[in-house]
Point group: C2
Chain length 159, copies 2
């Protein structure tokens, strides 16, 4: 499986690196990792055998989870770049999900890596919309949209 070389999640501050989807410090989690792919963004993940809907097909909630973290990771990449930083230089911003939608276009086969590809749209200085396609074997199995919002300071106070 092709690996995302430079991922924004590798540089989230430790306090915000516990996400079940994409936190590098969450031992039980999926460890989704999101990087640039030209002007778009990419996350690659191969679901585990237990992540099934019915035998042979991936669980829709896992696809939604991939879209969720791909969305927040993509928004973090975009704002970090807009702020003039390379990934790995300076601490990146951290986003939360405001809303999420998924259209399940085809059953998603198990046993192959999924590729989420994101296209970015800035809709507010602190808010990005990410348009996402999830590919399996180069076929689009799901389309999604995430509105990601810069994490409010109230989160940090409750950590």
């Amino acid at each position: 499986m092709k690996r995302v070389e430079i991922a924004i999640q590798d540089y989230y501050p430790d306090d915000f690196a516990w996400c079940y989807g994409c936190g590098r410090l969450n031992e039980s989690g999926h460890h989704f990792r999101t990087g640039w792919h030209g002007e778009q963004t990419i996350t690659i993940y191969e679901p585990l055998p237990e992540h099934k809907a019915i035998p042979g097909f991936v669980y829709g909630g896992l696809v939604a989870s991939l879209i969720d973290c791909h969305g927040t990771g993509s928004a973090a990449l975009a704002l970090h770049k807009k702020n003039g930083h390379e990934v790995g230089a300076e601490t990146p911003p951290r986003f939360v999900t405001g809303s999420l939608s998924v259209d399940y276009l085809k059953p998603t086969p198990q046993g192959v890596p999924l590729k989420a590809i994101g296209t970015l749209e800035e809709i507010h200085p602190k808010k990005w919309k990410v348009h996402i396609k999830v590919f399996a074997n180069d076929i689009v199995c799901a389309k999604g949209e995430v509105v990601a919002v810069v994490m409010p300071s109230t989160f940090a106070e409750n950590k």
Copy 2:
């Protein structure tokens, strides 16, 4: 935690009881269970400690997963009832998710049971829309919609 006494997922055929979200036979899964709650439907689930977004708050992908299976379970309940059957009598229909949307209204606190409550809308003989609110401590933390579709026969062929 209050338990859903009679859940539709307890009666899915064995071949379709492997879902990571709601399959009773998937040992690694969440085991979401959905039953009637008056004219509405209910699923109760307390996320595990690892299902966090940041410490103290539930992962959005887990909330989306709960909404996903609550939607398909609710549609199965509705069609089974429409067909004149009680839960537990006859094999219930099995639905897949056509689309899913979630609005995250408030950070969802960890350490308390979440209650998904669904309101059903028949939009086609084989398609139901389920309007869902997810409560923590009686506060609505997320709202969602699922369009659930009777499982196509192609799924059964690939099982």
